[in-house]
């Protein structure tokens, strides 16, 4: 049995990683909660956002944390346009078509990135990239602590949007009862697109938080998406607190799993949780009773 302090440090690191997972999952669960589809393009959009953050740093010298404030609205617009002009019209009102279109977009975006930038892995080098906080028994990278705090700030902002604004109210109305919302004059296509935009903005912020200690390549986002699927399923599809708690739980499970069984088997652990939850309790641990 390893010393409890080492375990504690693994747990802390897991929580830090888990927070970013939670943010990616938050975008996914938001989209699911309203559109009732899994956005398979989420990972490709994350890769695209990682590239955007990378080039913002390389070409414009923009610090990733500042780039987040630029990229979030840009990706909101991108997500809005994707849903409004591509996914929505192409779905013909059938969920299965929507799934396929997001899958098609995922393949398209990921391979467009591969075509344009090749499979090379890029990294950002920041002056504070290796700075860390000494807790006595372990070190925590400053950038990871920042991202941990930032994720909760984003979640708070999202919560405020959802609970305090008219658009938020409309989003909740569409999620609850699409036809009723439409009858009371809500533009459902617009709300769908706004929701998709918000989910995509989450991905852009996650990319900016990840990039100081992560790498960029055309398939970098995929690693997160299957994990995000797991979190969303674990937390209950459409549940925002579920995504946050699920993200932290998965981060810790992965960290401890990797610690005890090695990297790749740690990943299998996540998938097995995923499949088990899907089969036994598809509404998730926090999902509403079906």
């Amino acid at each position: 049995m390893p010393s409890p302090l080492i375990l504690l440090s693994a747990v802390l690191n897991g929580l830090m990683t888990g927070a970013v997972y939670a943010l990616v999952a938050l975008g996914l669960t938001l989209i699911y909660g309203v559109l009732h589809i899994i956005n398979f393009a989420h990972g490709a959009l994350l890769s695209a956002a990682l590239f955007a953050a990378f080039f913002a740093w390389q070409k414009l010298g923009l610090d990733p944390y500042i780039a987040a404030f630029v990229l979030a609205p840009v990706f909101f617009a991108l997500g809005y346009a994707l849903q409004r002009f591509i996914i929505g019209p192409a779905s013909h009102g059938d969920d299965r078509n929507m799934l396929l279109v997001t899958l098609g977009l995922a393949v398209l975006i990921e391979n467009a990135l591969l075509y344009e930038f090749h499979a090379d892995t890029r990294t950002v080098e920041l002056a504070y990239g290796f700075r860390s906080i000494d807790l006595g028994f372990t070190f925590l990278a400053v950038s990871r602590v920042i991202s941990f705090v930032a994720v909760f700030a984003v979640a708070l902002v999202l919560w405020l949007i959802m609970s305090r604004t008219d658009t938020g109210k409309a989003i909740r109305a569409v999620a609850r009862e699409k036809l009723g919302a439409e009858l009371s004059g809500i533009d459902v296509a617009h709300i769908y697109a706004v929701t998709f935009g918000l989910g995509t903005a989450c991905v852009a912020i996650a990319a900016c938080l990840l990039i100081p200690n992560y790498y960029v390549n055309p398939s970098a986002g995929n690693a997160f998406v299957l994990i995000a699927f797991t979190i969303v399923v674990l937390g209950g599809m459409g549940s925002v607190p579920g995504a946050l708690i699920g993200g932290l739980v998965i981060g810790v499970v992965e960290s401890l799993g990797g610690f005890f069984f090695g990297e790749s088997l740690g990943q299998v652990g996540i998938f097995l949780i995923f499949i088990a939850v899907l089969l036994v309790r598809p509404r998730g641990l926090f999902g509403a009773n079906a």
Binding site: F40, R96, V107, I275, L279, P282
Partner: protein, 328 residues
């Protein structure tokens, strides 16, 4: 009866190709295309006729490829026995995944997710377990004899895969005519209504999954015999899950010829793009993604559906003056 004649005509036309050309490039292209068409026809049975969109048919393709490779290389089993074992193993994996997923009542997004997850679990396991050759993969020994399912001539390989595709086309047609097929389509159109009429939706979907998995496993086994190599990224990689669903959807989902037509179009586009710009990684898949989005947007019933619509339009246009003349 007419449709069996159509199948025979299409297969006969394709069978004539080796007589017209000995070009290895052409034959290689057609072999790979037909292999994808076979995998896609497997997907089409479950996704097209049954409406259950799997995003993880790699689970069956990879199982088919690995089972024959492992049996031959590790246990010295004959390749044709390996072929039968591959198909059976694919069916078993299909029964397990289908049994679990359908028992849990997973539909739509959830079903897509769980199939994807199973394929990924298998991929990771295959990339670390010794019996699958872990990260290195498995090389099947070169032995160019018919009894080891290897042929000197590409033309023979081509005729073998064509025969397999022909069987898959006939299976789809028989399915359309059968009671089981009618139940399956009823489940696709409205599962609750079908159940209310006494269709055992669970059994029907499970049966379709098993058949679907077996066909896709046959394609995987053929891959192993043709390229004599398999590793986790090929066998269980996302590429094959995508191509297996892409071909019938582009060709015409839930139609006999959809997967074959889709595979020809998709592969021709991919190769054409490579001819123009050189072999840049990502280009062919980029085109596949774009075509998938465009087809769903503008021709949701695929190319077969689009062709039927155009045909109907012209026939209606041709009949209209005749009808007017008769009335007038």
């Amino acid at each position: 009866m007419k449709s069996f004649v159509a199948i025979a005509a299409v297969v006969a036309a394709l069978a004539a190709v080796p007589a017209l050309t000995h070009s290895n490039v052409v034959l290689n292209f057609l072999v790979v295309t037909l292999m994808i068409a076979l995998a896609g026809q497997g997907w089409n049975i479950l996704g097209g006729y049954g409406g259950q969109y799997s995003f993880g048919h790699a689970a069956f393709f990879g199982t088919g490829a690995y089972v024959t490779a492992i049996l031959q290389v590790r246990y010295g089993v004959n390749a044709w026995v390996g072929f039968a074992a591959s198909i059976a193993a694919g069916a078993v994996v299909g029964a397990i995944i289908g049994g679990l997923a359908f028992r849990a009542g997973l539909r739509s997004s959830y079903f897509a997710l769980v199939t994807l997850a199973f394929a990924e679990v298998l991929r990771i396991l295959a990339s670390v377990t010794p019996i699958t050759g872990a990260g290195v993969g498995i090389l099947i020994k070169l032995d160019l004899r018919a009894q080891s399912f290897q042929f000197q001539s590409r033309a023979i390989f081509y005729l073998v895969i064509l025969a397999l595709v022909a069987v898959a086309l006939v299976i789809a047609r028989l399915l359309e005519r059968s009671r089981f097929g009618a139940w399956l389509i009823a489940v696709r159109e409205n599962e609750d209504a079908a159940m209310a009429l006494g269709v055992d939706a669970f059994a029907v979907k499970l049966g379709a999954m098993v058949l679907s998995a077996a066909i896709t496993a046959a394609a995987g086994c053929f891959y192993a015999q043709y390229f004599l190599f398999i590793d986790a990224a090929i066998g269980y990689g996302p590429w094959i899950s995508i191509e297996a669903l892409l071909t019938p959807i582009i060709g015409g989902v839930g139609t006999v010829f959809g997967a074959l037509l889709g595979a020809l179009v998709v592969k021709a586009l991919g190769e054409g793009a490579k001819l123009i710009t050189g072999d840049v990684p990502g280009l062919d898949l980029m085109i596949y993604g774009a075509v998938l989005v465009l087809v769903i947007r503008f021709a949701p019933r695929g190319l077969v559906g689009a062709v039927t619509d155009i045909y109907d339009y012209f026939r209606a246009a041709a009949q209209k003056p005749a009808a007017e003349a008769a009335n007038g």
